[in-house]
């Protein structure tokens, strides 16, 4: 009779994605491009927030670009392209999240040195994108007031992975009886100490704070890049 044998492996199932993401991160850092991955449920206002963010950044002469993931259509890319920034749509078809190899493929033909900031709008989904590193320097998770205060408790994985939580559509907070204190308690319960920003892309409320947060992270990233590569030319 055949004897059962054991072959030890100990390897992360997403290790290929992780490796590719690490390569991307090195490329981004070398090119001095700050990459932000945006996660939320469908309809939380990622595209609207990005439209306004990119418009304001471009007014400050920052060179911004975006990759937009969706199961189907290029509607979001068309909306974002109106800002004048380079935008590419990643149609994932059956895939409910973006993976590092998609980012690599869709960056082809772009010179990363031409950009200061790259936004990656993930597929609207608070579960599947969570474990996939895209090489980003920062991850923002959005929560719209219309979704209710308990989203962070239902999807702790996404909120745990956030570098910052952006509450969106605050202009509608009163109409939907959004309880800010409860929402904040829930976010903090799953991720103690995470920065929370309250925004409305429609009224402009809180956008300065959000952009200031991005700026601070971007500066921190370039400071680290300069320290770790002393020969790096200043520009």
């Amino acid at each position: 009779m055949a004897t059962p044998r054991l072959l030890e492996i100990r390897q992360g199932v997403l290790s290929k994605n992780d490796r590719l993401a690490a390569e991307l991160r090195n490329r981004f850092t070398a090119a001095g491009i700050f990459v932000v991955n945006l996660l939320s449920s469908p309809g939380a206002g990622k595209t609207r927030l990005l439209e306004e963010t990119m418009r304001r950044m471009r007014q400050r002469n920052l060179r911004v670009a975006a990759l937009v993931g969706d199961l189907a259509t290029d509607n979001d890319a068309q909306r974002l392209a109106r800002s004048g920034a380079p935008v590419r749509q990643i149609q994932t078809g059956d895939l409910c999240h973006l993976e590092a190899h998609l980012i690599e493929r869709y960056l082809e033909g772009w010179n990363l040195n031409d950009f200061d900031v790259l936004f990656i709008e993930n597929v609207g989904n608070l579960v599947c994108p969570t474990g996939y590193d895209l090489g980003e320097a920062a991850r923002a998770v959005l929560l719209s007031v219309t979704e209710g205060e308990d989203k962070p408790l239902k999807y702790p994985g996404a909120f745990v992975s956030a570098d910052c939580v952006v509450v969106t559509k605050v202009d509608l907070a009163e109409a939907v009886e959004f309880d800010t204190r409860t929402a904040e308690a829930n976010i903090t319960s799953v991720h103690p100490g995470v920065p929370i920003l309250y925004t409305s892309a429609r009224t402009g409320a809180g956008l300065d704070d959000w952009i200031a947060w991005l700026d601070a992270r971007r500066r921190a990233m370039s400071a680290v890049a300069e320290v770790s590569s002393p020969g790096y030319a200043q520009d």
Binding site: L6, I9, R10, G12, V13, K16, N17, G131, G157
Partner: protein
């Protein structure tokens, strides 16, 4: 192809995870000269975002036609553990909705375990290329 199994899962990332799992396991098995895998051992963190049943289902789909076809997927759940600075200890959090130390109730957000999706081992049957007398 075009089985209903594939149509049931198209928008769940468990199928992607299952494909990655099978790919890694296939490579490891091939390297070790294993032709038929009978079981796959996986550690799954409670905060991995992976739904166990969906993964089991996705695994069967992904394993079809490979040296893992028909293999059992043995899943070991990994609890959520975080570092509590107050207690200077790694503590187990019973509830992923509440990142507070069960001992001192201070917030603790530094995760130690609970996010892993790790292939730990493969079981296979020795095909015994050299027959040994017994």
């Amino acid at each position: 192809m075009g089985s209903c199994a594939l149509q049931l899962l198209p928008r769940m990332h468990e199928l992607s995870i299952a494909h990655s799992l099978v790919e890694i396991a296939e490579e490891a098995a091939a390297k070790a000269g294993v032709t038929r895998v009978t079981a796959v051992h996986l550690r799954l963190g409670v905060l991995s975002g992976v739904v166990r049943d969906a993964l089991l289902f996705g695994f069967d789909v992904a394993a079809a036609g490979t040296r893992l076809e028909g293999a059992r997927l043995e899943i070991e759940d990994v609890p959520l553990q975080a570092y509590c600075a107050q207690c200077n200890a790694v503590v187990t959090l019973p509830n992923p909705q509440r990142f507070r130390c069960p001992r001192c109730d201070e917030p603790c957000g530094r995760i130690v375990t609970g996010q892993e999706i790790e292939l730990t081992a493969l079981e296979y049957e020795e095909s015994a290329p050299e027959a040994t007398a017994s």
